[in-house]
């Protein structure tokens, strides 16, 4: 078996052996359920008026998409908590020496850790998806739109995890890794705030383009865009590459 999978398996088990992962699963499932419920309330309020309009937006547009948009923020908030301990704690406990002394490259270490964490987020998203899917009991959904939205959230989480892993590679203190991760992700989320007011400034477009929010939005509307896919792909590769670089630099530098 490839060492990447061994490291991923170890990471996955370590997550579920700590209460942190279970608490995170419980809290974020509860929060997303709440967000979803409040969205359903709004829909029930609007429903009588919508009935009269021809071509009115359906349940998926009015309930699922906005709820998933809010869930993205929940994911952003919990991602650094999940990723904070991976490399930081490994260094702190001296177990990074075990991985480094083994015939395993820094790239394999980072990829293994990444896949283990990604597995956790996949489980989390599957739990979150149960709420919108429950609407199927009472009516019909635009499943394509839901799938696109979930794909967007999954890609966003994959980027959050890569960024969190990178920050965790910088320090040996999990708390520092968590706060640094928050900072980095929030910055990526709100970077377009600087751009919106004028909109005309040359830099504005670039900043808006860099924002994670912009790229998640398309998926929530049911649009799977090559540009958005590339954005997340590049983000993941960039952060993982930086994490590998950081591990190598610690071996070489002093």
């Amino acid at each position: 078996m490839n060492p990447i999978w061994r490291i991923a398996g170890r990471e996955w088990r370590a997550l579920f052996l700590s209460p942190l992962a279970w608490v995170i699963l419980a809290v974020s499932t509860f929060l997303s359920g709440w967000l979803f419920l409040s969205q359903v309330d709004v829909y029930l309020l609007l429903q009588p008026r919508l009935a009269g309009i021809e071509g009115a937006p359906g349940v998926t547009d009015l309930v699922v998409s906005p709820a998933l948009g809010s869930v993205a923020i929940v994911l952003l908030l919990i991602a650094p908590l999940v990723t904070m301990r991976t490399l930081a704690e490994e260094r702190r406990n001296g177990t990074l020496l075990l991985l480094r002394s083994a015939p395993v490259s820094s790239m394999q270490i980072v990829l293994g850790k990444y896949l283990g964490l990604l597995g956790f987020f996949t489980v989390l998203l599957a739990l979150i998806a149960l709420a919108p899917l429950s609407l199927l009991l009472a009516g019909s959904l635009d499943l394509g739109k839901l799938a696109a939205g979930l794909l967007g959230l999954w890609l966003a989480s994959a980027t959050f995890v890569a960024a969190g892993l990178f920050v965790s590679a910088l320090t040996d203190h999990p708390g520092v890794a968590a706060i640094g991760g928050f900072g980095l992700l929030l910055l990526l989320w709100i970077v377009d705030l600087a751009a919106t007011p004028g909109g005309a400034a040359a830099g504005g477009g670039v900043l808006a383009y860099l924002s994670l929010l912009t790229h998640v939005q398309g998926f929530l509307l049911g649009l799977v865009n090559t540009v958005d896919l590339a954005y997340f792909g590049l983000g993941i590769v960039l952060f993982l590459g930086l994490a590998v670089h950081r591990l190598e630099a610690q071996r070489l530098g002093g």
Partner: protein, 317 residues
């Protein structure tokens, strides 16, 4: 992948002019040595002399600023994965996952070091037997005593049957019984592996090693085989006679480096074989009728050597 060492070549480690700089200061400089199968090399030095830095370079955890390491003939820089497969390493702090069960942890380590899946259970079983861990396989590492944790750390270093085993202060924090057990284990490992043990406990080196190296402020200042050391130039002979002896006649014996004492009590520094000199002293005493009362060769005291090399040097500005 484990233990396929070139059979015609028993040199397991070749360190050539290893150096490591942190900023402007050299933590280790110009360290060269070799390690062969069957060697148990004691790596001695005061705290902060560069022992751990050297070990981290040997295990690929730190890149040397200068020089290079070959493990079983494979260059660590050019082919790190192949070279590292031959090394088992116990760092100063055992690299344990406290949330894992012993069996699970050792299986992970074996797999990580490239033991093929079907052989993992056997490898883990053997490592557990050697380290006396059979009864704690299902226990959580974090709940084990310090002694057992240390043993799990050693098991981790030998689970893939590496050619070279590097142990950084393996007996720190253990009780006397555990220390004896770990020493026995290391002696056993030394039979068909090459072992490097870093320590600052002198008796440990004497009890355990067949080679010794002393490192001081990042430089190797002494290197010898223990058996050479024992009959070498550092031995001394304590002699006591019934009647006063003549210093000139004692000094004239072959192999006497210096004579110290007066009347009946003498201390001879030996330059050569202490045992044959002892015979000659006895003969001389019988001839002259000095009445030999005590004749005690003092085996090279590593402590003496260490003090000479380290303490005296440190005291000097």
């Amino acid at each position: 992948m484990s233990a396929s060492i070139p059979t015609n070549d028993h040199v397991l480690i070749q360190a050539a002019r290893l150096g490591r700089r942190f900023g402007a200061t050299w933590a280790v400089r110009d360290v060269s040595f070799t390690l062969a199968r069957g060697d148990i090399l004691g790596f001695l030095g005061p705290n902060g002399a560069g022992k751990s830095t050297t070990m981290q370079m040997l295990t690929g955890n730190l890149a040397p600023s200068e020089g290079g390491v070959k493990i079983a003939g494979i260059d660590l820089r050019e082919n790190p994965k192949a070279a590292k497969a031959h090394v088992g390493y116990l760092p100063e702090i055992p690299p344990l996952y406290r949330d894992a069960v012993v069996d699970e942890y050792l299986r992970f380590c074996a797999g990580l070091h490239g033991v093929p899946g079907r052989r993992i259970n056997d490898a883990v079983g053997l490592a557990k037997r050697r380290c006396g861990l059979e009864d704690v396989g299902r226990r959580l590492i974090g709940n084990l005593s310090k002694g057992f944790q240390q043993r799990v750390g050693i098991a981790q270093a030998i689970v893939h049957e590496p050619a070279v085993i590097i142990l950084d202060e393996p007996t720190v924090g253990l009780d006397p019984i555990q220390i004896i057990e770990i020493r026995e284990l290391i002696a056993e490992l030394g039979r068909d592996h090459g072992v490097i043990v870093s320590t600052h406990i002198l008796p440990e080196v004497q009890a355990l090693c067949n080679r010794v190296q002393i490192i001081r402020r990042g430089e190797l200042v002494f290197s010898a085989r223990m058996d050479e050391l024992e009959r070498g130039s550092h031995a001394r002979l304590t002699v006591r006679f019934a009647s006063p002896a003549d210093a000139g006649e004692l000094a004239a014996l072959a192999g006497v480096a210096s004579v110290d004492g007066d009347g009946t009590d003498w201390l001879l520094s030996v330059n050569g074989d202490a045992d044959s000199l002892a015979g000659e002293v006895a003969e001389l005493a019988a001839e002259r009728g000095w009445g030999l009362r005590e004749l005690r060769p003092e085996r090279a005291s590593l402590e003496q050597l260490f003090v000479d090399l380290i303490v005296n040097e440190v005291a000097r500005p």
